[in-house]
């Protein structure tokens, strides 16, 4: 019975992924004085893509056919490891935080490979950018979650997030700082505003969009859906830091999760509206800053554990 409810929650999670981005886009439009598209616009987009024919470049090998599927599947698996709100995830074992990172890495790897496979120099450029920024983004994850794992002595994501208590004030700051660091990570990994603008299609500044430029139809559907899922996964990941009640009550846990998510959406919208995008050369610096927050946390709590 429990497994059924887990699967149900996971299915709802997957289905709600486009809605999240829809709400963000709508609020963003409202904040800048426009009406904006409907919050269900991403569903319409996905439906449109689903109906279209997939066309492959003549220079493309089997990699191009495989990579959207692999990318999507690895994101789905990563979602299974992530504790959603208070529930125990579908897959949970010691050390799954490393599997989580590498499943997301695998997804990105296949996206990069798929972009390079087509042979357009333009997509190669995007792939190079994505790979470069991924190098700087990886330490953020490992320093933040690694320091948490180190403090709690747990290596499973579920156990780590359920060891968090918000009683000690200095601990609270540590959690807040770690969540800021993960928020930076989220913006980078999902190519949102200060790092990459998902709306512009200006050749010189695209990072993520340029990689899927030659994909069409169902391939593009898979890529888009995995992008939507990825942002929801990272948002849940960030919001998990503030799951204060350790609730065993489903309804209460659900409402806490929703409230935290709403706060996170507000933060995301605010950041995206207020900040312009960074210069390409200052992005590594921005990422290093986020990583160094993680390092600082790790230092403080490993050397001076009371």
């Amino acid at each position: 019975m429990e497994i059924l409810s887990k699967i149900l929650i996971y299915l709802i999670f997957i289905f709600a992924a486009p809605l999240f981005i829809g709400i963000v886009n709508k609020l963003k439009a409202r904040l800048t004085g426009r009406i904006g598209p409907s919050i269900f616009q991403s569903y319409y987009d996905l439906r449109r893509l689903m109906r279209k024919e997939t066309i492959y470049a003549t220079s493309a090998s089997f990699i191009s056919r495989v990579s959207p599927v692999v990318s999507f599947a690895s994101i789905l698996f990563a979602g299974m490891i992530l504790p959603i709100g208070f529930t125990r995830p579908l897959i949970s074992f010691n050390g799954d935080l490393i599997l989580f990172a590498y499943l997301l890495g695998l997804s990105r790897f296949f996206q990069i490979l798929g972009a390079m496979d087509i042979g357009s120099s333009f997509e190669g450029m995007g792939a190079a950018r994505e790979a470069t920024f991924a190098v700087f983004a990886e330490p953020i994850y490992f320093f933040t979650l690694g320091s948490l794992a180190f403090i709690f002595g747990q290596t499973s994501m579920y156990e780590i997030f359920h060891s968090i208590t918000l009683n000690d004030p200095s601990f609270l700051v540590f959690i807040a700082v770690a969540s800021i660091s993960v928020f930076f990570l989220m913006i980078t990994e999902t190519s949102r505003m200060p790092v990459d603008d998902p709306n512009t299609h200006l050749e010189l500044t695209m990072i993520h969009e340029v990689m899927i430029l030659d994909n069409s139809g169902q391939d593009l559907f898979l890529y888009q859906y995995s992008a939507y899922l990825k942002i929801l996964i990272y948002a849940t990941f960030t919001s998990n830091f503030f799951n204060p009640f350790n609730a065993q009550n489903y309804a209460l846990g659900f409402f806490v999760y929703l409230a935290v998510m709403m706060a996170l959406i507000a933060c995301l919208v605010w950041v995206e509206t207020m900040l312009g995008r960074f210069k390409m050369k200052s992005i590594p610096q921005y990422l290093l800053f986020a990583a160094s927050i993680g390092i600082l946390n790790l230092l403080i709590y490993s050397f001076f554990k009371r």
Binding site: V177, Q285, F289, L299, I300, F303
Partner: protein, 211 residues
């Protein structure tokens, strides 16, 4: 709670290593001064008197209001200084260097404070503040940024005093504060004078000065 303030202090240092705007530097300095005020106030909360309030209030007035006001008004606006900071090394390397130095400082402080009766987190925060203040003076080109780097260093020394001695000899601290103010004042006058005869606000241009 004291640790929280110290962690925020460390974060402000990291921000100092990221940004390239003179005004942002000034804002970080104000933030640090306010944090220092709270750090000093926190242990005094139980026995507030006029005498114990003297030092924190002086810090607040001099460091968070007077010096920033002077730098902003008299130097940045009146001299119309270009607010982008030029650096001797690349910005990314500067951040990298700062992070590595901070790691080194933390490890080092962890070793040396093991047996001593010293609060480790303020000690490391203070030490890294001194180091990063030094880096700012070494690697940045603008004169006014050197002044701010010096002030950040001074903040670090002040925090060091708090970390090492629970009972502060605060006549000394008061004297130091006065010194700092005078130094900033003189520096401002000097920059004013230099710029009225010679249009440069960078250290690299100063070696061209002749009689």
């Amino acid at each position: 709670m004291g640790n929280v303030l110290n962690i925020l202090f460390c974060l402000s240092l990291l921000y100092l290593a990221t940004t390239t705007r003179v005004t942002a530097y000034l804002k970080v300095f104000v933030l640090q001064s306010i944090l220092l005020f709270f750090i000093v106030m926190l242990p005094l909360l139980n026995h507030i008197s006029v005498f114990t309030l003297l030092l924190p209030l002086t810090i607040l007035v001099v460091k968070a209001i007077l010096i920033p006001w002077y730098i902003r008004k008299k130097i940045i606006y009146e001299l119309e200084i270009n607010t982008t900071i030029e650096s001797n090394i690349q910005q990314f390397n500067f951040l990298l260097l700062s992070v590595f130095s901070m790691v080194a400082v933390f490890v080092f402080c962890n070793i040396i404070t093991k047996d001593a009766a010293v609060a480790p987190i303020p000690f490391s925060a203070a030490f890294s503040s001194v180091v990063i203040g030094l880096y700012v003076i070494i690697f940045r080109k603008k004169l006014i940024v050197h002044v701010i780097g010096f002030l950040v260093m001074e903040n670090g020394i002040f925090l060091l005093g708090i970390a090492v001695a629970s009972e502060m000899p605060f006549l000394i601290e008061l004297g130091m504060l006065l010194d700092i103010f005078v130094v900033v004042f003189l520096m401002g006058i000097a920059i004013n004078r230099i710029s009225s005869t010679f249009a440069a606000d960078e250290v690299s241009a100063l070696d061209k000065l002749k009689n």
